[in-house]
């Protein structure tokens, strides 16, 4: 919303020492966020009114003209690309030295003498946006220059030519400063949506007085005899409806002062009737609507207004001829036979004010905020009116606004007369307190020993009624703050503290007891795993979306019926909540495989299982279970055993955590995993997940061109298996002896079994390490060669070769017997 300094100054005094910039900062610090402070004339230095006296075609450019512009002291030759330039036109002439913004964007550029396609140009004929007047004079087409002819003719009708050469800012009286307020910062403040409300804040901020807002009282029927009947069918949706008929309307252009006010806050003037309703909305924050009353009247000439909910499917056509199909949630203003306005949003094209209008019906109503907000958002139709209604407006404003608009109408259309009784259907109540406010409570909340007198001063200046009794203030809420904004004592603390100034509060530190914070074991496990997997396991962490596509799920054989689904997915192709990390992880592998020969990635994240009970929902039920999983994937061009890369890395990391890992091979008839390369993952004896190579067929449909293995384990389960205990073996004082043994066994022989058998074979075997596995023709079909290095050591003496020979032979015999091993030389 734009706020005009000149307009504000009608209601309060801004102290001389406060610069516009400072006022902007002060508003930001005490009230609402000011995004920009705009001097209307900021791009108007060296810009004067010029009159085009000659237009010739540019010899070297079809779209350019060479113009001669009269600026009184001289006639300037200017090259101009404006599509609408013509002789006799009054223009905004940017002389040499003027700062303009090309196409209204970027940093200003200072005009210097230039040669354009071989023709000298002494300045520039400006478009509105090039001199910061784009909002005031919107361009109709891209190459349009600002045409001042009509504006000057209407303002200076006696002698327009006298304006030639005068500074444009003087001629247009552009001497205002405009504050651009971030609307998002005042959604909770219905009172700030007009200049007057902002003036009230400024008066409170600077300790200045605020001029009372007291338009002339309505005297009632003056002449004429419109019979008005208003039936409010939904009092909750329309707590107040005021209306009055005005005769003698002469629709015309608004006077300059009115147009200037509206333009300063970014509103385009239309005609005197519409302009005064807009003026009052921007001044007071109360929307108004003017109907052409003749379009509302029935055959007898009576006007019957019905405020009711629309019917499902009812049609409404807006002032700008757009059609909407309404629902029974929408509120409309209607006559017996037609909808004449979408309440609180916009009028209809069947009853708006036109140049032929002579009698109007003025509506000043209050509508239910949520109803209006939902209607506006349902139909994508947000207007200045709906933006205000959805903040919960004070119903008292209806009367003030109606008085003000009638007062102004009599000024801008002097023959206006009130030609009906004043209708006021109202049914509302506001909770205006009083709130008991303990002054000590305020001090504690602020952390400042603010005297009660200062609290009283601040509250009073904002319009609160305050009675002081000992250390308690009895505070009544002004109606414009009582609709939803202020209701509890904490709200009053905010009022006092913000006007006092948060900047004036001296920072303090609360005193906390020194206690170590309770640990979050799962978070700590996640952190350790991230560190170990990344820096020791050399896997890179990725973060995928929690949403997954049905297409992908189908490829890996998942049933979407098991999945929770978003009602309103942003990515229409990804509506499901993941139950696993693996699908999206594999997609990430695929995307990277085009650029990297090796992809080793992992993710830690939550999954969603609707069939299992999770955390409480706060209302006696439970949410779906949301465990934290770890998934790892590895793919490497030419690597035939990515499974082992993943399994080994995982084992290494778990070992660091003191957890034993076992892979229990399973044969699974599944489209997702390779039938010969799949296992359950057991950690500390408990099944916590699975690991497998992607089935070659599925790998193909997923676009994985290298063998890819993926592991997925449940960290919410693993965290329960963690123990503090770690084991330590005292260092032996005796040397050890290593012996290698190589043998051929059946391909089905399992390393883990062999290793366990070796280590258990004799007390002297203290370590067993597999160092080679080989398969090939010379080994024999269905066979594999394995080689182990066995470490022998005694805790009692230094072993000699012959001691080891005995044990080693025993072990070899065991291998032959138990595993059918053929020992290789």
């Amino acid at each position: 919303m734009l706020v005009s300094k000149n307009w504000l100054s009608q209601f309060t005094t801004i102290p001389k020492k406060i610069t516009p910039q400072q006022l902007g900062v002060d508003l930001t610090m005490h009230v609402v966020e000011v995004e920009d402070v705009i001097d209307e004339a900021r791009f108007l230095e060296n810009v004067v009114v010029g009159k085009v006296v000659e237009v010739k075609k540019h010899d070297n450019a079809d779209t350019l003209h060479v113009c001669t512009v009269d600026v009184r002291d001289e006639k300037l030759q200017v090259v101009c690309g404006g599509s609408n330039v013509r002789e006799g036109m009054f223009v905004a002439m940017g002389k040499l030295g003027a700062s303009v913004r090309w196409h209204g964007e970027g940093e200003p550029i200072v005009l210097t003498k230039a040669k354009i396609r071989g023709v000298e140009s002494f300045g520039m004929i400006c478009a509105s946006d090039e001199i910061g007047l784009g909002d005031m004079f919107p361009k109709q087409s891209e190459k349009e220059i600002l045409d001042l002819t009509d504006i000057i003719a209407s303002r200076y009708s006696d002698n327009p030519d006298q304006q030639i050469g005068k500074p444009l800012s003087d001629v247009l009286e552009l001497n205002d400063i405009v504050f651009d307020i971030d609307n998002k910062s005042m959604t909770h403040r219905p009172d700030l949506w007009g200049q007057y409300g902002m003036a009230r804040e400024i008066a409170a901020m600077y300790g200045q007085s605020l001029k009372a807002y007291e338009p002339k009282k309505l005297k009632g029927l003056e002449t004429g005899n419109w019979k008005l009947d208003v039936a409010v069918k939904d009092v909750k949706a329309c707590p107040r409806y005021m209306a009055v008929a005005i005769d003698g309307i002469e629709v015309a252009e608004s006077p300059a002062w009115l147009k200037k006010r509206l333009m300063s806050v970014g509103v385009q003037p239309r005609n005197n009737v519409v302009d005064v309703t807009n003026f009052v909305m921007f001044e007071l924050g109360q929307p108004l609507h003017a109907f052409d009353i003749k379009q509302l009247a029935n055959k007898k000439g009576d006007v019957e207004i019905i405020v009711r909910k629309a019917k499902d499917g009812e049609e409404y056509t807006s002032l700008d001829d757009k059609k909407y199909t309404l629902t029974k949630e929408d509120l409309v203003i209607a006559t017996k036979d037609k909808v004449v306005a979408l309440a609180g949003v916009k009028g209809s094209n069947n009853s708006g004010v036109t140049n032929e209008t002579t009698s109007i019906l003025l509506e000043s109503a209050n509508f239910h905020a949520v109803t209006i907000r939902r209607t506006a958002s349902r139909h994508g139709l947000r207007t200045d009116a709906s933006a205000r209604y959805e903040k919960s407006l004070d119903p008292h404003l209806c009367e003030l606004a109606l008085r003000r608009v009638v007062e102004l109408l009599k000024e801008v259309s002097p023959k206006s007369v009130v030609s009906s009784t004043i209708v006021d259907q109202s049914d509302f109540s506001l909770d205006q307190g009083p709130i008991a406010l303990d002054t000590e409570f305020v001090q504690r909340k602020m952390g400042v020993d603010l005297p009660a007198t200062e609290m009283v001063r601040i509250l009073t200046s904002l319009g609160f009624g305050v009675k002081e009794k000992k250390n308690t203030l009895s505070v009544t809420i002004p109606s414009w703050r009582a609709t939803k904004d202020i209701s509890i004592r904490e709200d009053l603390v905010e009022e006092i503290a913000r006007v006092y100034g948060y900047d004036n509060i001296v920072p303090t530190l609360p005193t906390f007891p020194i206690v170590p914070p309770k640990k979050n074991a799962l978070r700590e496990l996640e952190t350790r795993l991230r560190t170990l997997l990344a820096y020791e396991g050399r896997y890179t962490e990725v973060s995928n979306y929690s949403f997954v596509s049905p297409d992908l799920l189908e490829k890996v054989g998942e049933n979407v019926k098991d999945y929770l689904e978003l009602d309103n997915p942003i990515a229409k192709d990804r509506p499901y909540l993941r139950r696993h990390l693996r699908e999206n992880l594999l997609e990430t592998v695929e995307r990277n495989s085009h650029r990297f020969d090796v992809v080793s990635i992992f993710e830690i994240g939550k999954v969603f299982k609707k069939e299992q009970e999770g955390d409480v929902d706060g209302q006696k039920n439970t949410l779906p279970k949301q465990d934290t999983l770890l998934a790892m994937a590895h793919a490497e061009k030419g690597d035939e055993h990515p499974f082992l890369h993943v399994s080994t890395s995982f084992t290494t990391v778990m070992t660091r955590l003191g957890l034993a890992v076992h892979f229990e091979k399973k044969s699974l008839d599944d489209v997702f995993v390779h039938p010969g390369r799949f296992a359950e993952v057991h950690v500390a004896g408990k099944k916590v997940g699975h690991i497998g190579e992607v089935h070659p067929m599925t790998a193909n449909t997923l676009g994985l061109d290298a063998r890819t293995a993926v592991l997925e384990v449940n960290l919410s389960e693993i965290v329960l298996l963690l123990t503090e205990k770690t084991q330590y073996q005292p260092l032996s004082q005796y040397p050890s002896i290593e012996r290698d043994v190589a043998f051929v066994v059946d391909k089905s022989a399992v390393h883990e079994d062999i290793a366990v058998a070796l280590i258990k074979a004799d007390p002297l075997t203290v370590d067993v390490a597999l160092f080679d596995v080989f398969m090939g023709k010379n080994i024999g079909e269905g066979k594999k060669s394995m080689a182990y290095r066995i470490t022998y050591r005694s805790d009692e003496k230094t072993l000699e070769g012959k001691d080891v020979d005995v044990v080693h032979e025993k072990i070899v015999a065991m291998l032959q017997k138990k595993f059918g091993a053929e020992i290789r030389a």
């Binding site: 904490e490 990725v542 990277n592 994240g605």
Partner: protein, 343 residues
């Protein structure tokens, strides 16, 4: 023997002058001291034939000569070795810029995780618990308990993802629901942070994501004041950014706090003089915060007449983007290793 000894010595010294390598020196040493054919060795073998009375004198003479030769050999050897070492600078020279081959892979932690770990450490050191909560949350915890009833306009701005067939659930739009969960579980006094994933149904572009991360902070105790928020936040930001920072509070509205604030920090890029980062204001908006609304305390099972508290929210992604100058928020969840391998 005396003459022979002198001859050996002379001959040795003459030849020593021509020695230019350790190999030649070795050969020369052999001609003198070789076990079988060394001249000196052979001479020494004749000692047994020397008359007893001369033995002592000759022996001493032999020893003197031997020591002298040995000494000269050693000196020559050292000299030659020094000479040799000088050459390895050239002969054994390597390219120090080459990597060790074959190249080893490296793993990388996601930048968001790195920042989360860093922040969690910082907060833990100040006595904050690190908490977590469900990402699919009840409407109750996400909105109602946070003083956002069904008709509240704040719901519109939250762009919520809803769950089909379960109107009572939403994808959490902020980490704030954990405020209530924490108060109910741990009571007061309480200090906690909640780093976590949140969801907003927004179209994505370079600066908007539908899935992003927040870091919620909550402090509940007796007599927490606005002055405390300013003090604690200043300390926290200084800790996070590792330099002294200036902060300011200005009014801001959030339904679950009262009063609510926007906390700005003096722009670190221009030090407050105005630049593009701070849009010429000298201040950068850092985090929303406020005193916990009494209704929220009540929903958390705490008595607002006894306890008060403050809450704040830190947009971690923005912080990371600022820190590294990342231009597109979509990189974080792209899984693109070209991005991730930089961290």
């Amino acid at each position: 023997m005396k003459e022979e000894l002198q001859h050996i010595k002379k001959e040795f010294e003459a030849q020593l002058k021509h020695v230019s390598s350790l190999l030649q020196l070795e050969e020369l040493e052999q001609t003198i001291f070789g076990r079988k054919a060394g001249a000196f060795t052979n001479l020494a073998k004749q000692m047994k034939d020397v008359a007893t009375e001369q033995k002592k004198a000759i022996g001493e003479m032999m020893n003197t000569v031997r020591l002298k030769i040995v000494k000269e050999l050693e000196e020559k050897r050292e000299a030659l070795q020094r000479e040799e070492m000088k050459k390895i600078a050239e002969t054994e020279s390597i390219d120090v810029t080459e990597p060790h081959l074959p190249k080893e892979a490296h793993g990388h932690m996601h930048p968001m995780s790195q920042v989360e770990i860093e922040l969690s450490e910082l907060f833990r050191s100040m006595g904050f618990m690190v908490l977590d909560g469900p990402e699919l949350e009840s409407d109750y915890f996400n909105f109602e308990a946070l003083n956002i009833p069904p008709s509240h306009p704040a719901r519109d701005s939250h762009d919520t993802f809803f769950i089909k067939d379960h109107p009572e659930w939403v994808m959490r739009t902020h980490t704030s629901p954990v405020q209530i969960r924490a108060m109910r579980e741990f009571g007061a006094p309480l200090r906690a942070i909640v780093p976590g994933r949140v969801f907003r149904n927004e179209s994505i572009d370079a600066s908007h994501e539908h899935t992003f991360t927040q870091l919620e902070g909550l402090v509940v105790d007796k007599d927490i004041s606005i002055a405390d928020i300013i003090g604690v936040m200043k300390g926290l930001l200084s800790g996070i950014l590792k330099k002294d920072v200036e902060v300011r509070l200005r009014p801001g509205f959030f339904p679950f706090v009262e009063p609510g604030f926007e906390l700005d920090m003096r722009c670190l890029v221009c030090e407050g003089t105005g630049c593009n980062v701070c849009k010429q204001t000298g201040w950068v908006e850092m985090m929303p915060c406020g005193l916990v609304h009494p209704e929220v305390l009540k929903a958390g099972g705490l008595d607002p007449d006894v306890y008060s508290g403050f809450a704040f929210g830190l947009g971690r992604m923005r912080l990371v983007m600022q820190k590294y100058g990342i231009e597109d928020i979509r990189h974080f969840q792209s899984g693109d290793l070209r991005f991730l391998k930089q961290f």
